[in-house]
Symmetry: C2
Subunit: 199 residues, 2 copies
């Protein structure tokens, strides 16, 4: 069995065991959250920062649950590029969606080391079922699904990767798919913290 189909099967098995909510109600509740932030904050940048921060907390919760369900004998420590497969499983388990990954930058540039970048793509965005962004005004540039960037950041932080996640393509902006690019900033040390600093 290829790694790819193994990843897909693991993700599907975990998804099937998860308790379910209604996807439309979930999307509407996320919409209420974004609307609330739009009401309270001044700029798209501030709204996105808040969504990113919320996503981070939720991502940490999700990956902790995923890791708790893994057989510790087989878990091992993935390399950064291998972490893409884990991220795909966690997407399937918590967002219910099948994703594609590709190594290297989504938009080819010379500024990235190809080993420290990958992208995740998916056709249907479960957060944005009923959403149309305004075509004018300050919210034109709002990254509606920024929560997913923070969510991936939280997931990867627990796998010891400090990353930057950016939206490269978005169906809300008329692209044919949704693509998030993940770039490694640094590999975190296990147990890094005050004790580690003092050594």
């Amino acid at each position: 069995m290829s790694n790819k189909s193994s990843t897909a099967m693991q993700g599907t098995a975990l998804w099937q065991k998860q308790p379910k909510a209604n996807a439309e109600l979930f999307a509407l509740t996320y919409g209420a959250l974004v609307s609330e932030l739009v009401r309270d904050l001044e700029t798209p940048a501030e709204i996105q920062e808040q969504l990113d921060s919320m996503g981070h907390s939720i991502g940490v919760r999700c990956i902790e649950e995923y890791l708790a369900k893994q057989d510790s004998m087989t878990a091992g420590t993935p390399s950064f590029q291998e972490s893409a497969a884990t991220v795909q499983i966690v997407y399937r388990m918590f967002l219910g969606i099948v994703t594609e990954t590709a190594a290297g930058a989504a938009v080819s540039t010379t500024e990235h080391n190809p080993d420290s970048v990958y992208s995740i793509s998916f056709t249907d965005n479960p957060l944005a079922l009923f959403v149309e962004l305004p075509s004018t005004g300050p919210l034109v540039d709002l990254e509606y699904s920024q929560l997913l960037c923070g969510w991936m950041r939280g997931v990867l932080e627990m796998l010891q990767f400090d990353v930057v996640v950016t939206v490269e393509k978005s169906t809300l902006r008329g692209d044919d798919t949704n693509t998030l690019q993940v770039e490694l900033k640094q590999v975190l040390q296990q147990g890094a913290g005050e004790d580690y600093q003092e050594e």
Copy 2:
């Protein structure tokens, strides 16, 4: 087949056909929404008012989708007490939970006409999977799941019933079940609005 089992079967069939999200992610997203309101608003009353208003919008969306899926030949116009069965189906379809209904006031008083009150109860609250309310401070009295009151108000408004929904029991407050009481204020007229007012 009894009406009760017919209601349960209809609700289950609709639930099974709905697209699904992860219930834990849904609960965490709702938690992020409540936290955001806690940060921005002063009092539990203001937070609840906002949750109620969001719930109303979402409830209107949900019942419209439910009604669109009904066979218009069999839909008919329910009486207020009959609307409890519709509410149960909509709970199952959108929240995935099985509810119990009881005619009359949840807490027996002389102030309600028993025909104009019923209650809905459910053991597991899908909004509150990971929640513990603080035991001291201003949020002790927060009705965390007030969104559900607004949601029911939205659902019943589309069935032409103007209602008041109140939380009578809450597992978050240590009760053994969650009970929402629905009281009829007035039956709305089909198409009531400016045209109607002018007659």
